[in-house]
Chain length 451, copies 2
């Protein structure tokens, strides 16, 4: 019987190969048709809307959706994730929404990769709550452990030896898990949580939305009284401004969480493997798979890893196995591509370099705006010497414009204003990770703005 199965298998391989060729041929033909179909402006808009694009119509005012009837809503971004779209009436009235860091830029690369990154899941797979009951993080898929460990080794951006891996529903959940793990459960006062301004606009909200008695947002780390216990968030490269960071409080009662979502070679030169107590990463910004909601934490202390696991157990009873399996395949493909002619990081570095060149050219054409400057350093991964190429442009309105967000909004460019990051309204954060068409439109419109 084994022989007959072998013969059948050979036949199947040949037949499947023929199928692949046919599918490729049909897709290729369809793509040509599709390209011509989408060539008109209206259809392009339709296509982008269908994909939940950041280009929306004029009538979409992008106003804050009242998140909660709560005093703390001022820390919400100016446009909610769920702003309703309206079909635009033409190119002129199109709103370019660069408020969110939706990483659709990466779609093009993954379309080129094809079958290698396709995941096939049968109806009976991953039914159980459990993944690996021997692991501290019992809902973590072993395949994901291998993929993450391999990728960090290949890139050289983080130490994985002797660390406990905790998977989360995005790094947001891991941030909240870390706060839960690090805040004393029976303290008389909630733990202070700080980060140096400008800080990621969601940190205050994620810390305070449940009015927790365990922890509270205490603002800019630069202003913090060092005598109290605190947790300091160090985001490096920083969201929103892209700079490399160290902790700033330097008190003896502090615990650090390092958010390293952007410590990848398309955004910044990798100088050495990061070696901190708690390090957070996410596929959303490393490979672009935001829809999968997979983040991971490398945690030195076993008890902290256990408590973070407990948080996720209570919060969501684990993390989607379907997404973990998919993330594992994607991360393995990224690691594997580093031996190819053009690796994932080569490709994405080149896109980021090109976009930063374009936005700097656009800004240079006018006196109205400025951007941060970064000194070149040599990346240990690629050998290239370059300055940061952040996922967000931290744009400043020069001259008399005080509210840069409103100013750009009048010109139908939606961004997130400085006040959400704990600094002046003269600054805005602009996503650099949208699709090519949106980025091109943005860099055309920016220098055409007059005060």
């Amino acid at each position: 019987m084994a022989d007959s199965v072998f013969v059948l298998r050979n036949f199947l391989v040949v037949s499947l190969a023929m199928n692949m060729c046919l599918i490729w041929k049909i897709s290729y033909d369809d793509e040509e048709t599709l390209t011509s179909k989408w060539s008109s402006w209206g259809n392009l808009q339709q296509k982008l809307h269908h994909h939940g694009s950041c280009i929306t119509g004029e009538k979409n005012n992008g106003r804050v959706e009242e998140a909660q009837d709560n005093k703390r809503t001022e820390i919400l971004p100016t446009t909610s994730f769920g702003a309703a779209p309206v079909v635009p009436d033409g190119g002129e009235s199109v709103v370019i929404n660069l408020d969110h860091g939706d990483p659709t830029m990466y779609e093009t690369f993954w379309k080129q990769k094809g079958e290698e990154t396709t995941v096939v899941t049968s109806g009976w797979q991953h039914i159980s709550y459990f993944s690996d009951i021997k692991n501290v993080c019992w809902f973590l898929e072993p395949e994901l452990v291998s993929a993450i460990t391999r990728l960090h080794k290949v890139v050289g951006n983080a130490i994985t030896e002797g660390r406990h891996l905790v998977v989360g529903t995005g790094s947001s959940q891991l941030y909240q898990a870390a706060l839960f793990a690090l805040s004393p459960p029976n303290a008389s006062q909630p733990m202070n949580v700080v980060s140096a301004a400008p800080f990621y606009s969601s940190y205050p909200l994620m810390t305070d939305y449940l009015k927790s008695g365990l922890h509270k947002w205490a603002g800019d780390a630069h202003q913090f009284n060092k005598e109290k216990p605190y947790i300091e968030l160090v985001t490096s490269p920083n969201n929103p401004d892209g700079f490399t960071r160290q902790d700033v409080v330097k008190g003896h009662k502090g615990i650090l969480i390092h958010d390293l979502a952007y410590y990848w070679p398309q955004y910044t030169p990798i100088l050495s493997p990061a070696n901190y107590d708690i390090m957070l990463f996410t596929v959303s910004k490393s490979t672009g798979h935001a829809g999968s909601r997979i983040g991971w934490a490398l945690v030195k202390d076993r008890e902290v890893a256990k408590k973070m696991t407990t948080f996720i157990e209570i919060n969501t009873i684990g993390v989607s196995k379907d997404s973990q399996i998919r993330a594992a395949k994607i991360l393995q493909a990224v690691a594997g591509s580093c031996d190819d002619d053009e690796s994932f990081f080569d490709y994405s570095y080149k896109v980021m370099e090109k976009r930063w060149k374009k936005i700097r050219e656009a800004v240079d054409k006018t006196e109205l705006f400025s951007l941060p400057e970064f000194s070149p350093e040599t990346c240990a991964f690629s050998g290239r010497s370059f300055g940061q190429l952040p996922a967000f442009a931290w744009l400043k309105c020069e001259g008399e414009v005080e509210d840069c967000e409103s100013f750009l909004r009048k010109n139908k460019i939606y961004t997130r204003g400085g006040k959400h990051f704990g600094v002046s309204t003269k600054f805005v954060r602009i996503s650099m990770l949208c699709r090519d068409t949106e980025f091109a439109l943005f860099t055309e419109r920016l220098p055409a703005i007059i005060s």
Copy 2:
């Protein structure tokens, strides 16, 4: 070109059909080999361990993993999700862990379904955070909306017309989202949350683990002072005891959340479509896909649905798209199977009926235990007349045994004791959803126990 694509497509269909036959033939042959491979006891154990089974070795004492150094840890289940396994030294020393409701029972059905429920995801799909920006729940996949709506219509267990659908990372996240949405943000006191004892053991922990200022667990609904504002959780059929429930407080300041995770025709006669303000469901218990972490809420009030969406936005920035797409396919297959000779609900009803017959026979062989009795009612879906067949057996130790959980534990059966559900330690909750081998072992061991 269109013609040539058409011809190629026809050829592809024929070729793919041939592949299907080949795959089926090879799988069938492989399955035979596999069955003989796993026939020995040792290997069966290995297989179960590999799947994170609820059978673990003797040395696994299943002790509480200290979830948080918090006074409230007493409300944690007696065994954590992440208990470490030890290879057993023989059949006698095997621990049967029926503490969790891990729905591995359903694997057999889904293995039979084959390709129809297989999901294929390309590397470039579902990259964006967004699913449908026109929807209140902007991260909800339209395919999942169709599948959920169709299934509720086919089964007749819930009204979907005029409801807002909110997807969650399991129904645990939706429960927390509902608390967030229903608790006034600026009240001087946190909102009281109650449920009639015995209540689901995780409710107190999910309500209090962050020491929220928005809501607090206020215990058994029967004991609640009706003059204060409150949220009452109505779980029907109830976890742990399987009874149909109504709200009990009947105060004028109350808001209800209906947890209908078990309101499906394999567990209970469907009497009429549920029609409440907030109804929670989950694939974990309806189809058995716990690893996907997909739950949904049907919400009457748009503002409540918006606030629940905001909670999930802050908590995890949406819900895995990979799992949503998969859940949509599974739910469509379940709805579609209702026209087949044996529908998913027929199959699972028969398994539950058989198991309940077996556990009642086992309990009848001894004077030590008793089980609840349920009166038969006619199911509007199946036309069958039957009494509840709950996902958990709510077993009582009769006679002198006061701590039923410890008593069974000495006999290497792990269950969850009554105190976790707010009632006497004479009761335990036992999962009825494990694999056949585990259930057979359990119903053999139970009547052999002597006091």
